[in-house]
Symmetry: C2
Subunit: 403 residues, 2 copies
């Protein structure tokens, strides 16, 4: 069998192996990888996890190793409803579905809402894996440029108006309002209100990805879009940043009508998320470990962000720019227009031993070639400085050669 003969059309739409190639690269220990958006492995409160695991296996083992309810086990849904309420959206347990990480939530929503050719509006740039999901459901993707305050609402209003004139509407607007992946920017309250009003005016919904919201180093958090319009906004979140990614847990909070349909769809995705993981994570919310683990993450990443910002100031040529993120995992670099970061990646790794994610991986039309995403959370402080110095030297040489 030549399997390519059997592939569905969506496969060619998603044949972007960039991120995979980079994740492979970043596994080599001699490479300084500023690419993958991975937590610092040193932050995990291992002993406390072990105690919680033992307690759960002792007290709930026979349930925890069985199948759980498709929507999630009751106590964990309650804990997530409470957390979502704490974050600003008043939420009942039956407005929550547990998912196998954040992307599984986005996949589930796309499965329920997107027919081939349906329109989805995203930031340009936006999270690669979300683009992958929307492409895999053969959505038509409209990108709205970001500025230092996130998605540009003038351009968004124009796009929505254009669609309406053509008798079309978008299924939803996908946005990561806080510490955006990859751009690091945060949408201020006023603009959040505009986005919510625009969605309502043009009869579309919003998919708010709050993956990084809880990792704030400084400043005041603007309200979630899901707080401003709980009925019209689907909130997707993950335990990966506030606890750990290895347990693969996330959640969607939304209108009960939608949640019920997501539960039906989850039967055909993975039936239920890890039962033992849900029991454990529920316990860790209850005993305060989620809050403590998040506080450790914030401390460490705050320091590392500052290390990276100082290194950028110190080493980068004047014609490279970035926006200082108030939280999250990433800094987005903009280089001179003529530089193609995707084209240079192989050589950056081979010659300088440093990896990043090229800007085009985050763009629905593979543009923003002169940008790149740097992650400061994974590698050590020393390697951040060393990595930025190497990157700066590498691109300085390219600029000098070309001018």
């Amino acid at each position: 069998m030549n399997w390519e003969d059997l592939f569905a059309k969506r496969v060619s739409a998603t044949k972007d192996a960039d991120i995979l190639k980079i994740l492979k690269l970043s596994e080599q220990p001699e490479i300084i990888s500023l690419a993958g958006g991975m937590p610092d492995p040193s932050i995990y409160l291992i002993d406390e996890f072990k105690m919680a695991a033992d307690e759960i296996i002792d007290s709930n083992g026979r349930q925890a190793f069985g199948y759980g309810a498709i929507a999630g086990i009751a106590s964990f849904r309650e804990a997530l409803a409470k957390e979502t309420t704490r974050m600003g959206r008043q939420t009942d347990a039956d407005e929550v579905i547990v998912t196998t990480g954040g992307i599984a939530g986005i996949d589930l929503i796309a499965k329920v809402l997107i027919d081939p050719g349906d329109i989805v509006i995203v930031g340009a740039p936006t999270f690669t894996a979300s683009l992958h999901v929307f492409r895999s459901y053969q959505a038509e993707i409209i990108g709205i440029p970001l500025d230092e305050n996130g998605m540009n609402t003038d351009t968004l209003a124009e796009a929505l108006e254009n669609l309406q004139k053509q008798g079309k509407r978008a299924k939803f607007i996908y946005t990561i309002p806080s510490f955006q992946n990859p751009a690091g920017v945060t949408i201020p309250e006023e603009r959040r209100r505009q986005i919510v009003a625009l969605a309502a005016d043009y009869n579309t919904s919003i998919l708010e990805d709050a993956a990084y919201r809880q990792i704030r180093f400084e400043g005041t958090a603007p309200p979630m879009l899901a707080e401003l319009d709980p009925e019209n906004v689907m909130l997707v979140n993950t335990m990966s940043k506030i606890l750990n990614p290895g347990m693969r847990l996330g959640w969607v909070a939304a209108s009960k009508q939608l949640i019920d349909t997501l539960v039906l769809a989850k039967q055909g995705q993975d039936q239920c998320s890890s039962t033992i993981g849900q029991f454990m994570a529920g316990k860790l919310f209850e005993n305060g470990l989620v809050a403590r683990q998040t506080a450790v993450a914030i401390d460490v990443y705050h320091r590392k962000r500052d290390v990276m910002l100082r290194a950028l100031e110190k080493y980068m040529p004047k014609n490279v720019s970035w926006v200082k993120p108030e939280g999250g995992f990433f800094i987005w670099l903009t280089l001179p227009e003529h530089i193609d970061t995707a084209k240079e990646l192989d050589r950056a790794v081979a010659e300088e031993g440093v990896a990043y994610v090229p800007g085009s991986a985050f763009h629905h039309d593979r543009k923003l070639q002169n940008c790149m995403r740097l992650c400061y959370t994974f590698v050590s402080d020393e390697k951040i400085e060393d990595g930025i110095a190497r990157l700066a030297k590498f691109f300085e040489n390219i600029m000098m050669r070309n001018h």
Copy 2:
């Protein structure tokens, strides 16, 4: 927002809430549920799990709480390749992808192979959740009736020939060759060879679901289809029956060309399966606990199957028939034609306190209304006998009233 306005077309194709309703019912403790295909919660080797969890957290915690490779962590892929080889298909680690349970593997395969309107051949009856997946990708489903030896190869040959005459071909034939869910039947070796030959002749592939294969009580295992044609057969399996469902782990073994594409697709499904779960399950293969846990399951389910068979012999009216399964979880009952088990379910639960899954839930055209699936693994021996007695009385009354 009225969310129904936004739903994709696939939602209406999968709006079958039967199983959900039943799973809800079976949560009430006073109901004897022979419905859900759930393991006996008493079989888990809890203390051994706890020791393994502690060891993994101590020795691999910092890795185990991070993201793992999309295809699965290397040591667990190795263990699964070894297990698949032991089962009869010579398999390398790079021919394996780890999935979040068996259905997530089927979802991934469907995502990569099915465009709307593509043809998938299934047994009639077949596993509800797999039907759900194929419907969600808007496959055209052709059902091949089962007899006591599984999928009827004469009808299969006819269907393939008809398709060829119309210039069409099926993307794959989905089959559960051992202890089929729901019918309990096993395809003998000779017929397995015919199915593999037919697929090759008509240029289609096979999706072999081996979920129950390792739970054999007696007799000799025929070779897997994936052993007979490793290149053309995709093998999907799950840890749910040989270890436990709560960890949500499964795998696909297939041609490397296909596996590489499944890995790309998994980026947009759940990015990676539980890292901590994979470390643990790998350890449990290594220290022999998977084999011991499987042996316990086989012992307990063998006894329970016999309890159910004896109760059926004792209580069921003469015009109810079934095939004795040599393994797995299920017995399939065929009642007189005029009985509609879906219509009677509510009353069976309300009046007799006993639940089953109606036959139509397993049929691509919602036929086989006079059949039902009974699961003997979940409830106690006493409740199996009591449940069958109640069911027999309930349907005997219906038959007497109608004749």
